[in-house]
């Protein structure tokens, strides 16, 4: 305490300095008000949703803005899971999101590594073609991709000429296969591998290691941080995807959480309690993943933007 007292007179506060300091404090006060207001606008809807999901139907529709439910209840969640369909949607979404994450991380790493670290003819053209393909909006390939899956030879009861069955439509494959190794995953990992030195691979090569072993034992472990970010991003994209699952999976047993939730909105317009419970359940996995990985995601974001 005596130290502070002694330190203060040592820095005589001139009127100008005092004014500047006051301005800074006021400015900082305004800043806090502004960021808190924005935060309220981004977070309050979610809190409101969470709150509604624990309210009784009559309280939800009372028009009172109570954030803490007067009579908290789990009935909405019970109703949501009552007939088992929503649990089924969750399982479907997990299979699709996790499956897509595994294939994208594996094939994306393998191909990204090849583009970044191996020297071979044709590499540049593959790269350029992949890049050009990214300019094609998804809607253009949507109808024909549906047809390719529908008439895929020897799948889903089809014969060699793609006739007779439904192909891959209405199966996990319809959502997993077309996006199993997206160009984004390849480029993301390529960027990452490019930041690793060539020398370690060359050294292993001189020792006679095969290319796959060099990738698997040397470079892939070094790329774990990048692969983790890619995994989070693909999980999020897979879990949240909507239009394609809506088209390719039209058997209610195969619905994903997103498709199921959308159907729910249209069918039970006023059942806000169960609807909000469904929204919370549908957002929870990606929110949890984000909370765990948020530092890396924001960093990656910033990094890729600056480059």
């Amino acid at each position: 305490m005596s130290a502070t007292v002694a330190a203060l007179p040592a820095l005589p506060a001139s009127p100008a300095k005092k004014a500047a300091q006051r301005r800074r404090i006021i400015g900082s006060g305004f800043w806090y008000i502004a960021v808190i207001l924005v935060s309220i606008s981004t977070v309050l809807p979610l809190v409101w949703t969470l709150s509604t999901s624990f309210k009784t139907q009559s309280e939800a529709l009372s028009g009172a803005l109570t954030l803490i439910p007067l009579d908290p209840t789990l009935e909405n969640y019970v109703a949501l899971f009552a007939d088992g369909t929503f649990a089924r949607y969750l399982v479907n979404s997990f299979i699709i999101a996790i499956g897509g994450t595994i294939t994208n991380v594996f094939f994306g790493s393998l191909a990204g590594y090849a583009l970044a670290k191996l020297r071979f003819p044709g590499r540049g053209s593959v790269f350029a073609t992949f890049l050009a393909s990214m300019m094609v909006p998804a809607i253009v390939t949507m109808i024909p991709t549906f047809l390719v899956l529908r008439y895929f030879p020897l799948a889903g009861g089809n014969d060699l000429f793609g006739q007779g069955g439904v192909g891959m439509i209405n199966s996990y494959a319809a959502v997993l296969v077309p996006f199993a190794a997206g160009a984004f995953a390849v480029f993301f990992m390529k960027q990452f591998f490019e930041s690793l030195p060539d020398e370690i691979g060359d050294a292993a090569r001189i020792d006679g290691a095969g290319e796959f072993r060099i990738f698997l034992n040397i470079y892939f472990p070094l790329s774990a941080a990048g692969a983790a970010v890619l995994a989070v991003l693909t999980f999020q994209a897979g879990w949240n995807s909507f239009l394609w699952p809506l088209i390719a999976l039209n058997n209610p047993d195969m619905y994903t959480v997103q498709v199921g939730l959308a159907a729910f909105i249209n069918e039970y317009q006023t059942a806000y309690g169960p609807l909000m419970a469904g929204t919370i359940i549908a957002s929870l996995p990606v929110l949890l993943v984000f909370i765990v990985a948020q530092k890396y995601i924001v960093q990656n974001f910033t990094g890729s933007a600056v480059k």
Binding site: W31, A114, A128, A132, M134, I139, L147, N240
Partner: protein
Amino acid sequence: MTTLTRLNEVVRGPEMAKQQPPKWWRFGPDGGAVSATRRQQAVSGWIFLAVPVLLFVLFVLIPVGIAIVVSFTDYAVIGDFEWVGLANYTRLFQDPIFWIALRNTAYYTALFVPLGVVVALGTALLLNRRSGAVRVFRTLFYIPVISSTVATASIWFWLLNPQYGLFNVVLGWFGISGPAWLYDSQWAMIAIVMMSVWAGFGANMLIFLAALQGVPSELVEAARLEGASSWGVFWHVTLPAISRTMFLVVTLLLIAAFQVFDQAYVLTKGGPGNSTLTLVYYIYDRGFGRLEMGYASALSFILFLIILVFSLINARITNRRDFS
């Protein structure tokens, strides 16, 4: 973020493919061990690329080819189909609903893009300061981006409920009786724009934030010393310094805006009275609702052309390294 990295790469790709001599060539023609390594690398390289290349052929290359062919036929999944030449393309010019969808999409874009830029840049400017609290607020601002469009739409469906929703209840406190939002053809699209800005600004905010942190602080200091106001510094120093990022974000938003679908599908089904019928929703409806896949393919190529213009502008901007 995905699109950004992607577009960065899109631009660098062709450049690299064109200008760089193939690197494998540099190994030198001394044969022997080097040549064996080279051959081994070529084989491994293609094996490593095999799955993505195969999927690219199956689900991009072949589909684009099919889309072109189908757009010249009256293919409708069931029954025979015929070559109809340009009929699908001439038809759309006389299709009043196509024009409604185009107009709605343009309206959405005209509201969404400027609003999206202003909110993203505004919040980025707020967060562009040295303070420990920034990290917390950055995360809070980013939260809406994480949830799916469907979940976000579901939340807004509730917020915008004319009677019990947060919006109209709060408006009611001030004696304003809010509109019926999604049930009012005048307000439905505006509601969807508000929702989309809320849901997406966090991503562009991070892009702007990165750009703002790259603005040389000496420049800002110098302008301040010469007595420029905060607004003057922003207008004459900061904004020009981030112009490249600005154009990038604008084109990204344009490309996304023209493909808006989820919100319109979940919240309004294109209604009321077609007021939120967007192009992608119309293509979806024609192709998978009425199975008019020939016509839907033609529609999707028109959309492709519109988006291609913005993609190319975007690619040019990203390519001009001297721009900033």
